[in-house]
Symmetry: none
């Protein structure tokens, strides 16, 4: 699906940007790079900045005009820094990803068009596009480096076309131990409370706001079984320590 | 709100990346760039690549260690290319934006930490983070240029903090105490570790996987200042208890 996305760079001046664009594309799983009338060439600087994406540069397509680069495309979206004189359909990068996804069934290429480092795309070039995309940016300094703009769009393309919303586990990653049951956590908290009494930290006559705070802390951490075992092991050792103390004084009262 | 986001670059080798990072930041409305033990300097190459963001480079903060860069932060997220041996809470860049938005009311900085061009962040550096963020990428070539990675994260920060509504707190509700800083949590964990040695639970000669698990548990719980105070009070009382014991035997070894 990402093969359907064609990145088109118009009139690029700096070869480093071509290389950096290739890397950004390959990092996101894209591969089709087209250069329209480039001023820079695919030189050593471009290859160096491409790093592990030099293969994309070998497959680059170079044409003389923007019309040639987009003729066979089903959707053409041009990057626009600001509103020109005639309002044109405008999307966010996220919406652009959704529109690209909607094109998957057509098997026609989707072109994302990027302009010159100095001045972006001309009005005529923008009018060749079905729609424009504007990357949300600082009004005081909205001009992104072209390879950075390509990075953001390629990232949104990947999210829309490849990445799922499936999350593994409450912390976003597969965990190494199973979660503790509620009863197991509760058992640890009760042992914690008993330990606080044993060491004289808690005064049995005062309200138990403190234990409530501890319960809240540990419950929201969603402990796994090993973490509970560790904590109960520590508490057990402390309780043994306290049991050996004869007439331990309550130095520290409950603090809320 | 975007002023609250601190971009931290560790041990950067290429000055061009520092400049490109500054530009990406300013394009998205961010301004706080910190360099930890940089190998590159803020030279002409950096200034050239920063383009209209050279002012950010003038205000850059340079420190020797990552701890210094994050001590006062309420949330520290490290970029991670892959799962290391101990699973750690993991977010997408989008979720990272949402978590940052949830920190707005706290007025504490949110640090996004980026590693070396060649090797990313070390395990120790990753373990200092509350959570990790992984940019969805091509499994065959997942290594983004560091300035490009910064671009993607800054873009998501802008979407979450400027283009959206504000959410109250990381737990979906307005909290009753301010979050503990990273240094405060770290101090508690170090006292926890010392306490485990004092009571004979930890054997100083065996590996510290256990402490890593405890660090992971407490960091992901995002404790507030009161919770840290409670825990430190408890630990202090236990340490006093242990100090009164003469020749306490190590009944319980370390369990992993």
């Amino acid at each position: 699906m990402l093969d359907q996305i064609r990145i088109v760079m118009v009139n690029t001046t700096h070869s480093g940007n071509i290389g950096a664009a290739a890397r950004a594309m390959k990092n996101m799983g894209l591969s089709r790079l087209w250069l329209v009338d480039p001023i820079a060439s695919v030189d050593d600087e471009a290859i160096a900045r491409a790093a592990g994406a030099a293969d994309l540069l070998e497959q680059v397509t170079i044409v003389a005009t923007l019309e040639e680069a987009i003729a066979d495309c089903g959707l053409v979206v041009g990057t626009s820094a600001r509103n020109r004189h005639l309002p044109w359909p405008l999307m966010t990068p996220r919406q652009c990803g959704e529109r690209a996804r909607a094109m998957v069934g057509s098997d026609m290429p989707v072109a994302l068009v990027f302009g010159r480092e100095s001045s972006g795309l001309t009005n005529d070039e923008l009018h060749l596009c079905h729609a424009h995309v504007h990357i949300p940016s600082n009004e005081e300094y909205s001009s992104l480096n072209v390879a950075q703009a390509i990075q953001v769009l390629c990232y949104e393309m990947r999210l829309a076309l490849v990445e799922n919303d499936v999350v593994t586990g409450p912390w976003g990653v597969e965990w190494d131990h199973p979660p503790a049951s509620h009863a197991e956590i509760d058992g640890m908290i009760r042992q914690f409370e008993q330990t606080l009494l044993d060491i004289g930290f808690l005064n049995p006559n005062t309200p138990k706001h403190l234990v409530g705070r501890l319960r809240r802390l540990y419950q929201r951490a969603l402990p796994d079984k090993t973490e509970i075992n560790i904590l109960r092991g520590v508490l057990g050792t402390v309780q043994q320590l306290a049991a050996r103390q004869v007439g331990v004084s309550s130095d520290k009262g409950e603090s809320d």
